[in-house]
């Protein structure tokens, strides 16, 4: 349904050009939940914003193609992309605290979006609004609709934001760390809710997170990003149980497991490379415990390893 091909995005800053995304390739099928994981700064949000045409003015899409049902989104005019946003592809941001209009009642905000996407009367929009609140498991929709965002808890707000994003309903929902700012129990409820919306309404989800635990709960497929590149991708179970890239392995080892919670986390040594001066070879080489001579000079491309499982590492090429 959505396919990202050879995407390169640079940022022009007064200190130089930042290569934020380099050669990104992935696709999302109908009704699929795809996870993108990676450290802070690996380019996850930029990928999402590029899809929706919401990059800042200093961004430069150097090359690539994003096809959605046969249309190249990058070639659409501002007007055309607006008809896609919200209606076909919607997005939920990390911060439920500030993603809502601060001085408009949440019910009005939801009705506004419903009226934008469905040709209905004010009265019908209100009814649909209450249904939509119910769909995201808000138990007193009439009451909550009359609240201002600041009167609601973080979890409630995130439900409202999800209801807003699902108003059309869209074919694809991009969720950029939708649960990071919430506490664990509410995080779990929101994940359940998204899974349910995916199953009931058939909306595909692109789920951005840095939490592998979250990925294992809801994603069919997982994409691992590092320094603006996809370094591994495949079925979630394959990526998590038989990780091939040393970076993915390190991420999984760094996870706290229930059994020995007192053991300090194994942080990955070293730092993410400066995106202004990318190393010529593999971007992970300086931190990799299996680094070889070739890694320092030749960047490995993402290559097929086995059943739908791709990896960008020289080790796996033998």
């Amino acid at each position: 349904m959505l396919e990202v091909k050879d995407l390169h995005v640079n940022f022009q800053t007064f200190r130089g050009t930042i290569e934020a995304l380099k050669n990104i390739n992935f696709s999302i099928a109908e009704k699929e939940v795809v996870g993108i994981v990676g450290e802070s700064g690996s380019g996850k949000s930029i990928t999402a914003l590029t899809i929706l045409g919401l990059l800042e003015k200093n961004a430069d899409i150097a090359s690539g193609e994003i096809t959605y049902r046969g249309d190249n989104l990058l070639a659409l005019s501002k007007k055309e992309i607006q008809t896609i946003r919200g209606k076909k592809i919607a997005m939920v941001f990390q911060e439920p605290m500030t993603a809502l209009h601060p001085t408009m009642k949440v019910g009005e905000q939801l009705s506004e979006v419903i009226r934008r996407h469905r040709n209905v009367s004010r009265k019908e929009a209100k009814r649909l609004m209450l249904v939509a609140l119910n769909d995201v498991h808000i138990h007193q929709p009439e009451y909550v609709a009359k609240q201002y965002p600041f009167e609601l808890s973080g979890g409630m707000r995130q439900r409202i934001v999800i209801a807003l994003a699902m108003a059309a309903p869209p074919d694809l929902l991009i969720a950029d760390e939708p649960t990071t700012a919430l506490d664990v129990t509410i995080q779990h409820e929101i994940l359940q809710l998204m899974k349910e919306l995916n199953e009931k309404k058939g909306t595909s989800i692109l789920f951005i997170t840095h939490d592998l635990g979250v990925v294992s709960q809801i994603c069919n497929r997982t994409i691992v990003m590092y320094a603006g590149e996809v370094i591994e991708s495949g079925e979630t179970k394959d990526v998590l149980y038989t990780p091939q890239h040393p970076y993915t392995k390190a991420l999984i080892e760094a996870l706290p497991d229930g059994k020995n919670a007192n053991v300090p986390l194994k942080a990955i040594q070293g730092e993410v490379p400066n995106l202004m001066e990318r190393p010529i070879g593999c971007a992970f080489a300086s931190r990799c415990s299996h680094v070889m001579e070739t890694c320092k000079t030749n960047p490995p491309a993402l290559a097929h390893w086995q059943n739908q499982h791709d990896v960008a590492c020289w080790l796996e090429r033998g």
Binding site: E95, V113, A165
Partner: protein
């Protein structure tokens, strides 16, 4: 448990109207300003009840009478009651001052928001024009405009509205620039809301409060400008009981008949001062960035 309303929040909150009034009332200086302005407005509204005279009634037999029980503020060179003229003049000065600022703030808010939201060429063109206007001293430009439009009190008001527009354009624009980058506007965009609706429903309601603050502060200034134009003969024309026009004629008689220019001056001073006090109070309440 989730349904419990939470009190704490980092976001701007819609302040309840009663809370706003309460805060305004706590500020003593604001209250002083409000009382002074309230008395002047009431006196202007009830002028026909408060004085038996007509502001333009000539009574040559009683010219240049000093203050007395029958003429509280004395009479002028053709025997008109100065107190009466001041009350009727308040209708002109306050009314036109407020209308001028409403026009300027309204137009400025719309232009500034559009300019800030779309940026690019539109923004450049608008802001360079505003810079040009701002490069002239307000009074000089208002005088030039009033003279070009032809001296009358309506034209004075229009001139003042025009010269005040750039201030509001700048304010609304800078507010819009920061709101445009805010997450709730970005998410409204991802939900597919159209640009003009975002401007109208999402940005303007949140960029209006600095404009209101500036507006309240500016009404006093506008009243002074109207009086100045009247004084210079570019605004209200005789025999209109406009304060500036009265002072303009009256100041020639200051040494012999002190009351003639003094009382209109006093009222001009009181209203402009009261409006500034109110403006400061409104700013303290509405603007979270100013110190409390």
């Amino acid at each position: 448990m989730e349904l419990q309303p939470q009190a704490e929040s980092v976001q701007a909150q819609p302040v309840k109207k009663s809370a706003l009034l309460y805060k305004l009332k706590k500020n003593k200086l604001t209250m002083v300003g409000a009382v002074i302005l309230g008395v002047i407005i009431l006196a202007a509204v009830f002028a026909p009840v408060l004085t038996p005279y007509n502001p333009n009634m000539i009574d040559a037999a009683n010219k240049f009478q000093g203050p007395s029980w029958s003429h509280w503020f004395g009479t002028d060179e053709v025997g008109r009651d100065i107190f009466t003229r001041i009350l009727y003049g308040a209708r002109l000065s306050l009314g036109l001052g407020i209308v001028a600022i409403l026009i300027a703030a309204g137009i400025g808010l719309v232009i500034g928001t559009i300019s800030g939201y779309f940026g690019g060429m539109i923004d450049q063109a608008i802001m360079r024009t505003m810079d040009m206007v701002l490069a002239f001293p307000t009074l000089i430009l208002a005088m030039a405009l009033a003279a070009a439009l032809g001296p009358s009190i309506q034209n004075a008001m229009i001139a003042i509205a025009l010269v005040k527009i750039p201030v509001y354009v700048r304010l609304a624009r800078s507010e819009t620039l920061s709101l445009r980058e805010s997450l709730f506007v970005k998410s409204a965009q991802t939900f597919g809301i159209r640009p003009f609706r975002i401007i109208r429903k999402h940005i303007m309601p949140n960029s209006v409060s600095p404009v209101i603050i500036q507006g309240t502060l500016d009404v006093g200034d506008a009243i002074l400008l109207i009086a100045t134009l009247g004084f210079l003969g570019l605004g209200a024309q005789p025999p209109a009981p406009e304060w500036g026009a009265m002072i303009s004629i009256g100041w020639k008689y200051l040494l012999d008949f002190w009351w003639y220019p003094t009382f209109p001056c006093l009222f001009l001073f009181l209203s402009a001062g009261a409006l500034n006090l109110i403006g400061d109070g409104v700013r303290d309440v509405l603007d979270p960035r100013s110190s409390r």
